[in-house]
Every structure is written in structure tokens, then in C-alpha cells.
């Protein structure tokens, strides 16, 4: 684990992660200074390292938007697909070869607006892929339009008078749709988020980790949220661990985000169920012959 007291040790580990799991020739990344996506991408790499996953057997699938560039930086089999469709592509990959570890990295608009239908159905189907959402509450790549997770009243370039929509809770949405694992992390809570991502990848069915990112360039400036550091501090001060939140009244949780594994159950994973069906049909045929 990261020794926070020893800066040298930390740097070394960071560079190891970069050289082991990223494509240095494609770095530096395109994300703005202060963007939370880089932290979250590193969390993913650290979780993969901790789990000891094979690079050749791990697939990163992304859609379109700022988040989707992560696929290009990570040194696995990576596929940068079309806007919103990452989960549908990932479903095909997992079906074709269930032994692969399939991880989707997506943004909030990508996964819950244009790709919302794929999200809820993959959750319902309980197919064994892990979805990591870099949730920055805004469409960053196109310049700051409000997204399905922009809070009510917040500003975007297409919400000049304040957002009239109510936001999605993406983790709650996945849970409601039947996901067997739904969790929340944040750019600030590095260690907790790494652990949660690890748990999510390890989970055999569909798992979703909604990770609060920060977008100082668009969301921050439009909403006078201060610097990137201020935005991360907000996360520090306003995210409540799930265990603690369980003992709190809804009134006390207003305006806060719950951090941790919000929901986990075990259902039969879809490709496993399908392989069992194939085996059953083979057996029936052999018995008939």
C-alpha cells in the first residue's frame, strides 16, 4: 500500500504504475490541470496491480468524452468505442470470451444519458463487467454543457439560467436496475476508491463504481467552485462513508455523497449462466444419441 509519509517511495510506486500499466508514449494525457480523471485512472491501475490481473487478459472499453481517453493511456487491450455504447461493446467482448476481465471506463453523460439504456440493461442482465464512471457532472469534451448529473440549479453553457433538471444518482440508478454491485468513490478518497474498484472488479456479476471526479475548467468556473483543490476539499468534507451514513437521518445526508459499497449481492453471472445452458444442451444431445 502507498506509504503516504514517504514521498520518494510514493513517486517510485507512481512511476512503476505508469510504466507497467500505461502507455508512456501517449502521455502526458489531454486532461486539464486539476482534472480528477487522471487520479481515477491511476486508481484503476493500482486496483489492477493489487489484484494481479494479467495485462493481456484485461480489456478496457470506453465510450466518447474526456473519460474515454483513459482507454488510450492504459496498456491493455483497449477499445475506444462510440458515444454511450461502451457497455454494449463490452457485453459482446465478455460473451465472446468470458475469461477476459472487461472494464468499462465512462463519463456521466456517456453512461447515463446517451448510454443510459445500455447501463440499466447490463445491470439487469448481471453480465460480469465492471463499469467505472468518471463523474464530473458536466460534458467536458464539448465545453461544459449540463449533464444528467449536474445538480439542479447549477450552471452549464447550456444551462445559463441554472439547470432545471434533477440529477441522476448513477450508483442508485444501477442498483435500481438490478446491478449486483453498486458503489461510490471519489477523486479525493484515493485509497478507499482503489479498494472499492478492486472489490468491483473482483465481484463476479455486473458492478458499477460511480467515482466523483472534478472538472475545474468547466464545472468549477461556471459554478464558482473555486480551484481544483477547493473542489477536492469539497469531496473531503462532504462525502460520508457508507457505514456512517447508514446510521444517519436522510435530513442529515442532504447535500452529501455517500462513499463506499452501497449495495452488493450475488446473482448468477450472465455468461456463466449461458455456458451452463450450452453444457446442458450438449449433454441432452449426447443422451439422445
Amino acid at each position: 500500500m502507498v506509504n503516504r509519509g514517504d514521498v520518494k517511495q510514493k513517486d517510485k510506486q507512481m512511476s512503476n504504475l505508469v510504466y507497467k500499466y500505461m502507455r508512456p508514449e501517449h502521455l502526458p494525457h489531454i486532461w486539464c490541470p486539476g482534472c480528477g480523471n487522471g487520479i481515477i485512472m491511476r486508481d484503476v491501475a493500482q486496483a489492477i496491480e493489487n489484484l494481479g490481473l494479467s495485462r493481456n487478459n484485461t480489456i478496457i472499453v470506453s465510450g466518447i468524452g474526456c473519460s474515454s481517453r483513459a482507454a488510450g493511456y492504459l496498456d491493455f487491450n483497449t477499445i475506444h468505442t462510440t458515444h454511450g455504447r461502451a457497455i454494449a461493446f463490452a457485453t459482446g467482448i465478455k460473451l465472446a470470451n468470458p475469461s477476459l476481465e472487461v472494464i468499462v471506463i465512462a463519463g456521466d453523460g456517456d453512461i447515463s444519458a446517451i448510454g443510459g439504456n445500455h447501463l440499466i440493461h447490463a445491470a439487469r442482465r448481471n453480465i460480469g463487467i465492471t463499469v467505472i464512471v468518471m463523474n464530473n457532472n458536466i460534458y467536458g469534451m464539448t465545453g461544459g454543457q449540463y449533464s444528467p448529473t449536474t445538480p439542479k440549479g447549477a450552471f452549464g453553457t447550456t444551462a445559463p439560467y441554472g439547470n432545471l433538471d434533477r440529477p441522476f444518482d448513477i450508483a442508485g440508478l444501477a442498483y435500481g436496475a438490478g446491478a449486483s454491485f453498486a458503489a461510490r468513490g471519489s477523486a479525493y478518497h484515493v485509497q478507499q476508491t482503489i479498494n472499492i474498484i478492486q472489490e468491483g472488479i473482483h465481484h463476479s456479476g455486473f458492478s458499477l463504481i460511480d467515482v466523483a471526479s472534478v472538472c475545474p475548467t468547466y464545472y468549477g468556473r461556471k459554478n464558482k467552485s473555486g480551484s481544483a483543490v477547493d473542489m477536492l476539499k469539497w469531496q473531503r468534507d462532504n462525502m460520508i462513508p457508507a457505514e456512517k451514513a447508514a446510521k444517519m437521518e436522510p435530513e442529515e445526508l442532504k447535500g452529501k455523497l455517500v462513499l463506499g459499497i452501497l449495495h452488493q449481492v450475488q446473482y448468477k453471472e450472465f455468461t456463466y449462466a449461458y455456458d451452463q445452458l450450452i453444457k446442458r444442451l450438449y449433454q441432452e444431445r449426447e443422451e439422445n444419441e
Binding site: 501517449h26 495485462r55 493481456n56 487478459n57 480489456i59 472499453v61 482507454a71 488510450g72 496498456d75 491493455f76 487491450n77 483497449t78 477499445i79 475506444h80 468505442t81 462510440t82 455504447r85 454494449a88 461493446f89 463490452a90 457485453t91 459482446g92 467482448i93 465478455k94 460473451l95 465472446a96 470470451n97 475469461s99 477476459l100 439504456n117 445500455h118 440499466i120 440493461h121 449461458y274 445452458l277 450450452i278 444442451l281 450438449y282 444431445r285
Partner: protein
């Protein structure tokens, strides 16, 4: 006849696909292609493959592309409204060079149109539906047996050229049942996509040695770690903004099809040697054309049939050459005149072109074609 079975066009499509090696089908229910999904759901797990009913048409094609990326031959089928929705990811598969078969059992449009009635109104969408320039291979069967054969060929072409191939069926053929001789599996030619023998993470996935037709990247999970994207990319598989790289990529994509036209083309002509008049037709319409030709011949008229089974790329040179010897071409198709435009473009002033179309959900009859043949 050997092992002759009664089969529906949609069923033949699935059986041909299975014979070609399809092991994943992702689809969404839509008339008149639904039987393709239903039969796939029965047959695929029997053959060790997988069927999945996705949440929509977009997800279906995306899922099929995903499976293909992981090395499994995959197909999706739909009809007009669904074909509209698939256009986005058709472009993705064309650009990223992912083998894939997409079936469109055409029905009356536009919009929801007349779901159970025949049409050939998606022919130009097949060519130009997705945004941007892109190569297209589209095949049109006119019988149950041809549906079986072209389903296999669609997979073979898609594997060989690493491009999506469209099997443009229509309700007439999709819902037609007729006798079909099942070929001996050993006699079926199966082509598999070229892949590298020794997957190496350092290998550039889209790099091609001289003489290679398409990139040879390995399926995901085989040890060659690389990136696939819908952005214009160079041979490393990563996005590029270089105009020179973009030009190279676009030209290679277009030329891999156009340079191999002779291999891809599939022209079924009948009685063209002495013909004065040719019926240009494709797909289910060819059956009425055949009857019309027989009736015309019985009357002493020298009528032939010019029928592309590979409709895209269009048989430009063949048609231009044929038209120089003809007194008339009658184009018959179930739309307002789509391939007609292509025929007119190619034939120019070589001979007159007349048109028998239908856009009311009805079926073009032999007598309607015959009337055009006999028209002065």
C-alpha cells in the same frame, strides 16, 4: 436432388451463418427479420455459440462488434427502422476494420411504414447510411438457397476484407419457404480473418507488410495489446490529426474494396448473350423478372436478366458494357427508384432505361414487368 429441405429465407440466413462459423448473434425483435433472431436463439447454443437479445438495435450491433473484436464471428439482423439505428456503428466497424455481418430484411418505409410488407427501400441507405466516406459490400439474395449461400459469402468477405458486410434481404425472400439442397459441410469454403501468428504487444496492429490486404491484429486477449478506436488512426491504432495519415487511411479503406472488385463482384445474368432488352433487378424482385423473361421469350422477345448479387460495389463496367448492345433496360425494384439512379448514371445514353417500381407494399408482378418490356 440430395438432401432437400423446406426452409424459410430467414432460416437459411441463420443456417448459412452457422455454416460460415457465426458463434454470436445479437439482435432486437423487428418484423420481418424476427425469425433470424428466434432461430439463432435456438441454434446457437446447440453449436456452442451464444445468442443475446439486446436492449435496442444500437446495442445489438455494438455487441456484435465487441464479440468480433474478441475473435468470434458475429451477426446482427434487423429491418428498416433498426437499420437506420445501426448506421452509427456500421461506420465504426468499417473504420476500425472489424469483421461483421449485418442483415437487413427490408420492409416498407419510411419510418414504421408497413412492417409486414415488402420493399427494397434501404438500398441507398446501405450505401450511404453512415456518415463519412466508407467502403461497402452489400449482397442481395433472391431465393432461399441463395440466402444460405450469400450468408456464408457475407461472412467470408467480411473476414477477408475486415469490413462489415450487409446482407440486403427483403420480405419476399425472408418470408419465402422453398426447397433447398443443403450442401455437404466439407464442401463449404470458409474464410477466417488473417491474424498474426505470434501476438506481440509491440507490434503495430494496423501495420501491413507489402502485399497484405488488411491489418492482421489478433483477437483481444491473445497477447497483442493494442488500441482500437473510431477516430482516424495511424498504423499504431492511435488517433492522429495528421492530414497525411488521414488520407492514407481513407484511401486504403476505400481501395481494399475497389481494388478487389473482381473478387467481390457476383453477377447473375441470364439470357444476356442475345438479349435486346435486359431486366435489371436484384433480391426478391428477380423472381417476378424471371417469370416475365420466360413469358417474353415465349412471345419471341429477346429478353435477358442482369442481376447483381453483389449490389455494392455496383457492377459499373459490366452494366455499361452490356448496355451498349441493348435496346432497352427495364429496372424493376420495390422502391421509388433507388438503384435506378445508379443504372442511369452508368448507362448514360447507351440505351433507354425504363422503370417498374412499387411503393405501396404490394409486389411487382411479372405482367407489370412484361408491360414495360413490350412498351415501345
Amino acid at each position: 436432388m440430395g438432401n432437400v429441405v423446406l426452409m424459410q429465407g430467414n432460416e437459411a440466413c441463420v443456417e448459412g451463418a452457422l455454416a460460415a462459423g457465426m458463434r454470436l448473434y445479437a439482435g432486437y425483435p423487428i418484423t420481418p427479420s424476427t425469425e433470424i433472431a428466434e432461430i439463432s436463439s435456438v441454434r446457437l447454443p446447440q453449436e456452442g455459440g451464444k445468442f443475446i437479445q439486446m436492449e435496442d438495435e444500437i446495442a445489438s450491433i455494438a455487441c456484435a462488434i465487441g464479440a468480433s473484436v474478441a475473435g468470434v464471428k458475429a451477426m446482427t439482423a434487423t429491418s428498416g427502422p433498426g437499420f437506420s439505428l445501426k448506421q452509427e456503428n456500421l461506420g465504426y466497424a468499417a473504420l476500425a476494420e472489424i469483421p461483421l455481418v449485418v442483415v437487413d430484411v427490408q420492409r416498407m418505409g419510411p419510418s414504421t411504414g408497413m412492417p409486414t410488407f415488402p420493399s427494397q427501400g434501404d438500398m441507398m441507405m446501405a450505401r450511404w447510411g453512415t456518415h463519412g466516406d466508407h467502403p461497402v459490400i452489400a449482397l442481395c439474395p433472391s431465393s432461399v438457397k441463395e440466402t444460405y449461400d450469400l450468408s456464408i459469402r457475407a461472412f467470408n468477405l467480411s473476414e477477408k476484407f475486415r469490413t462489415p458486410v450487409l446482407l440486403m434481404m427483403d420480405e419476399l425472400v425472408g418470408h419465402l419457404r422453398e426447397g433447398m439442397e443443403l450442401p455437404n459441410p466439407e464442401e463449404i469454403e470458409i474464410i477466417d480473418r488473417p491474424t498474426v501468428k505470434y501476438p506481440d504487444p509491440k507490434r503495430l496492429p494496423y501495420h501491413m507488410k507489402a502485399g497484405q490486404l488488411v491489418p492482421q491484429m489478433a483477437p483481444f486477449g491473445k497477447g497483442q495489446r493494442y488500441n482500437i478506436t473510431g477516430l482516424i488512426h495511424d498504423e499504431s491504432g492511435f488517433p492522429t490529426n495528421s492530414t497525411e495519415e488521414a488520407r492514407k487511411m481513407m484511401e486504403r479503406l476505400m481501395h481494399k474494396i475497389s481494388d478487389n472488385y473482381d473478387y467481390i463482384k457476383d453477377l447473375a445474368t441470364e439470357n444476356m448473350d442475345d438479349a435486346d432488352i435486359a431486366i435489371f433487378c436484384y433480391g426478391g424482385t428477380a423472381r417476378a423478372a424471371k417469370s416475365a423473361m420466360d413469358e417474353a421469350r415465349a412471345k419471341g422477345l429477346k429478353v435477358g436478366i442482369f442481376r447483381p448479387r453483389t449490389i455494392w460495389p455496383f457492377p459499373e463496367n459490366e452494366l455499361a458494357e452490356a448496355s451498349r448492345k441493348l435496346k432497352k433496360i427495364v429496372v424493376a425494384e420495390h422502391n421509388f427508384g433507388q438503384m435506378l439512379l445508379e443504372v442511369q448514371r452508368v448507362v448514360k445514353n447507351n440505351c433507354p432505361v425504363s422503370f417498374v417500381g412499387k411503393w405501396n407494399g404490394g409486389v411487382i408482378t411479372p405482367s407489370e414487368i412484361l408491360a414495360k418490356i413490350e412498351e415501345a
